[in-house]
Symmetry: C2
Subunit: 176 residues, 2 copies
């Protein structure tokens, strides 16, 4: 058995939290794993906001047009953002989306490895969601929130098997 | 020690391969880890092409405007693509980039967990690169290559410590 491999295969989106606090030490480990993600030309064009304030978490839980209700019982919300002042120039600027998505996957996998629940809730590219999160967290225009990741102590793990469709794997050139 | 957590922290981009073959069993495990990635509304809007043909691998290694030279000694190249016919509608279509980036990070982490070298080389959003890869692999217009991931037996691991800048971590609202 390869624990590192199995951690990738067994990760699930967790939306049920007990409301208990996740320690600062654990959150720091999770963030550090996020920072270990690769980025195009190693630009690391990202910022991470860690929201632990109960009032702001409750506001996030009630944002209209979001799927963030579980934040009500989360211990924290990690908001992964792109910083367009740190990116590559021109069209390549948009690589920040790929870089921060890799960072997000690292955050989800590290949470799972440490026994903490987490779920990726999308913000960008919804103009409405980006606007609401930016207002709530005072983000300047060059800081674009990619997502909100509520994290917390797991109360009810989603244990059903995820259906994986392998028909998307092709050997050699495209043949359909 | 938490093997699953350490796997995330210790992953590095590997660009030096011995030229030896990676078994089909290992490649299948790597692909399966890719398919375990989350996707927006579970649309799984992706396709994976696995290139093992020596001639095509050599062509990839020599593509102008790419950073894919290491493919010359790779055992295979995994080409992660978005399928715009499987995505969410409207503006949310572009979630495929986030979904396939999470898939890519899983592929890189699974390779590392299994002792195989891999590196993310960017294709999308470069119009020129997307065109060249699409021509080479006969991709129809709704299949968009996100990247090329050469994988192989490691000949020379890049062991220097990656510099991590923690100044991108912020607690609470934006305060700069």
């Amino acid at each position: 058995m390869n624990e590192a491999y199995n951690n990738i295969i067994t990760r699930r989106s967790i939306r049920n939290f007990t409301g208990e606090i996740v320690s600062k030490e654990i959150i720091d480990l999770i963030l550090e794993a996020g920072l270990a993600a690769p980025s195009a030309v190693n630009k690391q064009p990202w910022e991470i906001l860690v929201v632990e304030d109960r009032e702001i978490l409750d506001t996030i839980a009630n944002l209209e047009g979001f799927y963030t209700k579980m934040t009500k019982k989360a211990s924290a919300a990690i908001v992964v953002c792109g910083n367009t002042e740190k990116t590559l120039p021109g069209l390549a600027q948009i690589y920040w989306v790929q870089d921060t998505s890799a960072m997000t996957e690292n955050i989800l996998l590290a949470s799972h490895a440490l026994g903490i629940g987490a779920v990726w809730t999308g913000v960008y590219p919804s103009v409405d969601r980006v606007k609401k999160v930016s207002e709530l967290l005072d983000l300047p225009s060059h800081i674009i929130p990619l997502n909100i990741i509520p994290i917390g102590v797991i109360s009810n793990e989603n244990t059903f098997a995820k259906e994986i469709d392998k028909s998307c794997i092709h050997y050699g050139k495209w043949t359909k």
